[in-house]
Amino acid sequence: MNAQPPVAEPLLKVTDLTVEFPIRSRATVRAVDRVSFELAAGTTLGVVGESGSGKSVLIRSIMRILDYPGRISAGSVVFRGEDLLAKSEREMRAIRGREIAMIFQNPAGSLSPVATITSQFLEAIRAHEHVSRSTALARARAALNAVGIEAPDSVLNKRPFEISSGLIQRIMIGLALVTGPALLLADEPTTSLDLIVQEQIMTTLRRVQSEFGTAIIFISHDMGVVSEISERIMVMYGGRTVEQGNLQEVLRTRRHPYTDGLIRSVPSSVVRPGMRLYAIPGQPPDLARLGKGCSFASRCGRVHEICRKEDPALSSITPERAAACHFPIEEKESVLN
């Protein structure tokens, strides 16, 4: 008899999270609409979607650093057994940068342009612990080593504007890791970098996964990049989850037409003359004007009458796999390559 190992409590469990933004005409826009997912410790979840799909708002809500007009209107975010939404600002401050850390799309913009790297590391460490300067410095050096910077002292005394952007992004990852967080939120960390630097960052992140065992939520609009590093994947559209599951399964057997479209849009390495790049027709939805029915209906190649009338709920196909579609695609093999 095969005894299953006991299923541990997930590191992060988000349930029905809804985030609203009021807009001028007194209506509200739901940037995140009833999103739910679980993240086990040490695993990586990739979140994919176009601009406006709500992915950035999602992770900022997890950390509760959402900018003023937005508010979390419903749902729960349970981290290590505690609901983050119920915590006071002071308690959140203790968690931010310590147990949950975040890296951003614009690396230089995350640092003070005029302070040295050393001072910014010291500041980040000492915001959470009272340690001596030498201890903090040692940790900073260790963190920089861990992200692949062999000679940390060469960057420590510089200021951000004197350092190249690839290096800055790695320094940012180091800064996020120096306090040993259990969860790293990555908001499009490779989007503004060129391909070579992108690869360096992905390598660094893989190192983070294997050496530190940090759980990662990796957000991007680039399906290809997300696939390199995630174990599970969640596809968002119009603020809602449209598909969720293990990476390999989702890539192989797409259920939701949008996921299908995304995967087909990744340019393949086989180019035939006259071949056209596939692009999903239409525009992302205007969140202020979402009507009834599936938000993807206007762009879907498989749309039926009911799609425009009823909002498809996220339904489980298997315990680990879910899709929000009235007519999910049947199992079929990938048509790529």
């Binding site: 933004f21 826009v29 940037a31 601009s51 406006g52 708002v57 950390m63 650093i65 900018d67 401050r93 203790a94 968690i95 931010r96 940068g97 310590r98 850390a101 975040m102 951003f104 799309q105 614009n106 230089a108 913009g109 995350s110 640092l111 003070s112 342009p113 005029v114 302070a115 500041e123 980040a124 915001a127 959470h128 200021r159 504007f161 004197e162 800064l175 996020a176 969140l287």
Partner: protein
């Protein structure tokens, strides 16, 4: 280094231009200084005085003599007062410097906290009240404020309103002078702070769990230093212009009063010296400010600015480089 030498050279050119302009403007317009100095003298006596002062030479000759004198350090005698022009100026200068310095100090002490409060509570009642007060300060003529201060405060609080009897004489005049400055500086701090508070940097720092007081006061405020310095440099002209009126009202023995008197009496040498000294001070101070940018914000050090582009262009480019979240949000 060569960057600053170039700047200095430019400044000298402007300086020479100013002095030349004043020289010719004063002499080309009607008005005979000799008649002002000795209105009751006979025609002969006047001719004698004129010769003595070199006013009977051709204009060009006078200019050359003037330049020659300047270069050799002789700035001439004041027509009206006894004594060398330069002495009068050097006596009055410290008073005005004290006045301007005091006004600037008052302005900074009030403007920085006000700007911070305004920015942190953007769009709230506090913000609007502070902006409203700034508007009132900016819209009041400083001589009117001086008069009000005299009538309301001085008599009751026993503060001196005439001349200079000690440092206490600085209180009212510098207060009047500082009002407009408070308004301008508060708004500078407010705007740059608001920009910093909405920037990617502020969000990232919050995500790192840094205490908000630190984020605002240490990091964001530091970014306001450069705009503040620039604006202060630009306000020097206002400070001196304002000083003229304020000193007139309070009979305060500074450069402003001296300028006014020398103009009214057509005291050319004195006026020339005043203009020369004033412009020199402006240029020197602006040069110092220019050099200090590098100390405050490493990005603006001389090495980075060798390209020679104006400081304003550089600042604008820097501001544009960090995408603010507002702009990124347009793709919500």
């Amino acid at each position: 280094m060569s960057f600053f030498i170039r700047r200095f050279g430019q400044a000298i050119v402007v300086l020479v231009g100013i002095v030349t302009l004043i020289f010719f403007v004063l002499r080309l317009i009607p008005g005979d200084p000799v008649s002002v100095i000795a209105p009751t003298a006979t025609a002969e006596a006047k001719a004698q005085i004129r010769a003595q002062l070199g006013l009977d030479q051709t204009l060009w000759h006078q200019y050359v003599t003037f330049l020659h004198n300047v270069v050799s350090g002789d700035f001439g005698q004041s027509y009206f007062f006894q004594g060398r022009a330069i002495d009068l100026v050097s006596k009055a200068l410290p008073y005005t410097a004290a006045l301007a310095g005091c006004a600037l100090l008052i302005a900074l002490v009030i403007a920085i906290p006000a700007g911070v409060a305004s920015a942190v509570h953007e769009d709230s009642v506090v913000d609007r009240v502070i902006l409203g007060i700034c508007l009132i300060f900016q819209s009041s003529a400083n001589f009117w404020v001086a008069l009000l201060l005299i009538s309301v405060v001085a008599i009751r609080a026993g503060l001196p309103t005439v001349g200079y009897v000690g440092p206490i004489s600085l209180v009212l005049p510098s207060l009047a002078l500082s009002l407009s400055l408070i308004a301008v500086l508060t708004q500078v701090v407010r705007i740059s702070l608001i920009g910093a508070l909405h920037s990617d940097m502020a969000v990232a720092m919050k995500a790192r769990g840094l205490p908000p007081r630190r984020i605002v006061l240490i990091h964001c405020l530091r970014l306001s230093c450069v705009p503040l310095m620039t604006v202060i440099g630009a306000q020097l002209g206002y400070l001196l212009g304002g000083a003229v009126i304020i000193e007139y009202i309070f009979n305060y023995p500074g450069m402003g009063l001296l300028t006014l008197n020398s103009v009214l009496r057509r005291d050319y040498p004195l006026l020339q010296i005043i203009v020369l000294v004033t412009s020199l001070i402006f240029l020197v101070i602006n040069l110092i400010i220019d050099m200090s940018y590098g100390l405050v914000d490493g990005r603006l050090s001389a090495a980075n600015r060798e390209g020679g582009s104006s400081i304003f262009l550089r600042l604008a480019r820097l501001a544009g480089r960090g995408r603010t979240r507002r702009e990124a949000k347009s793709g919500l």
